[in-house]
Homo-oligomer: 131 residues x 6
């Protein structure tokens, strides 16, 4: 249960509907996921977040699938159920194979483990790694 | 300062040296970074961690550079200074351009922000994202 | 499902009931929320936690509503579903408007994002910020 | 040591200097802190982050000092050294008294403790807290 | 809902069944918990994780019950619902009394609180604590 | 550098000195570590934190060494440098052998890894683990 009711198209203001329309156009689907319907309570926050997300996750130097995988990695380390589900689904929609997913999981598990070990031992950063 | 002294080659047991030798062979460098020199206090933990890391980070379905980027993403969300430095250096060594690095940063920033927003609002996962 | 059964008034010891009574008196409500009913399995932990919470969240130099907002901020960064819900409800009960809530969300999102960016880049603290 | 060199005014492009100038104008100081000098390697990320931060932390429904305190709270829970220092300094610059700071610390400590306890016991959210 | 279907014995490959059989033999029970059934999608990750876990959690210098408590502590700080439940159950199965559990909770709560306070104040580590 | 100056015995109020004296008496040492000297800026917070810590970490159902290990585990997962150092030192002072420390590290690493894997896969808790 969210701390805010999810805003349907019928309840949305013109400002919110304009953002919803852009989400639909960019993604090529009529579906608006719950994150945006919750965020719609604050139209300025909704508009700013969508504008930035559209820019960050759009075409660029990295393969869009790699961006989805990075999103999964951050969300797992933060324990964020919502974005683990949504970006795992998005990564699959962009072609992530189950073998690739297995490697994403393996790297995340390895990073979590060694993050814990190096933090526990408070190992100083090697000078060679510094810029 | 680490919680354990770093073990030099001179102080290393035969068991530890065998792992150090394999690290050198696999990476094609004589350099052994501090993480392994700290972990060397527990030869079994050293051997198991290296064996697994070699396997996970080696050739597979994902580009080795993508694995480095995923490692950075997890380490940032965990606030792990050591691995942020070492895997940012490793990613650059594997060809990450500064433009790509800027996008890695942008995706991490976006994921952190939206993880915070969706968690604050406790938005329920859309059914469509479930397997 | 909790790892401990929730203790009802009927099951509570005299020591636990005394704490429940004080919670009711301080808050001006008969309602005891689940956190205290779970903690009641360890009466000393229950008493110590309530005594401290009553003191910390009571009248002082900060507006009680600000204290609720700070509680929300910490709980979001920790991903703690229970306290996100309970302190968002408490903040609203103390007068938080939806516009104020939107700003709380915006600041949390901004802080999460910039925490991620600055950690990823391992930016050194400016001397001017040091005491 | 940052993963990126800090960009001085002399090294900055016109695009970056325009952002630096706006930071100076909004804050009424010539000082540009290290976060922006690191972020300047990616002018688009710099511009987007500053534009959003200026908006979020500017005048609104919440007292600017409260926004600084919320920033501290999130940064502590994330263990982000840089923002703990910079926003504690900013809060003091905006008038936070040492007595108020003591209460901020007390609430953060309390929230961390009870977040841990409620998570350990996996206490279900009371229905009354749901919207 | 998991991001991967849970693999039943009927669906399991010979490689996966061999790991399941070893789990059953080592634990002296026919029950295979969901973690392994999800991980079974990647037989190599399943085998490596189980081999390491069997070794780490098996007989050694620390009481097996202490290992379970440490697992609970890490899982609480990470907010990991699954492992909080499974290792609290395992600790009880290995003899953890409710009085001991109360102390585990108390130490976790204390550590969370003081971690927050010391991080907020950025207290430098005393030289005497360094190796 | 701390956000607050560390308070020496000479600068301490009578209220603060009384807490310092109790710390010295309970620990059987003249040494007061930096955490308490920072916390001394808020005498009420200092007194409440010490009173609770003394109670939690004192004699009880768990071996005092186990409590130190639990403190390390939480502090590692939170990335808290100060408490990793201080409680690793305290655990050694209470007799933790290097072999035991190796197992503490191994369990922490294992828990971090499997927390990441189970969170990434969003595995549902088995009914059998529920109370």
């Amino acid at each position: 249960m969210a701390t805010l009711p999810l805003i349907s198209d019928e309840e949305a203001s013109a400002e919110v509907l304009a953002v919803f329309d852009d989400i639909r156009a960019v993604r090529g689907t009529d579906f608006i996921n719950n994150f945006w319907r919750a965020l719609a309570h604050d139209p300025a926050l909704l508009a700013a977040t969508w504008a930035r997300l559209k820019d960050v996750m759009g075409p660029g130097e990295l393969d869009p699938l790699v961006k989805e995988m990075l999103y999964i990695a951050v969300s797992v380390a933060n324990g964020c159920e919502y974005y683990i589900h949504s970006h795992t689904a998005a990564a699959r929609a962009k072609g992530m194979s189950e073998a690739q997913y297995g490697e994403v999981l393996s790297v995340i598990g390895m990073a979590m483990q060694t993050n814990g070990l190096v933090t526990a031992m408070q190992v100083p950063v090697d000078e060679v790694f510094e810029v």
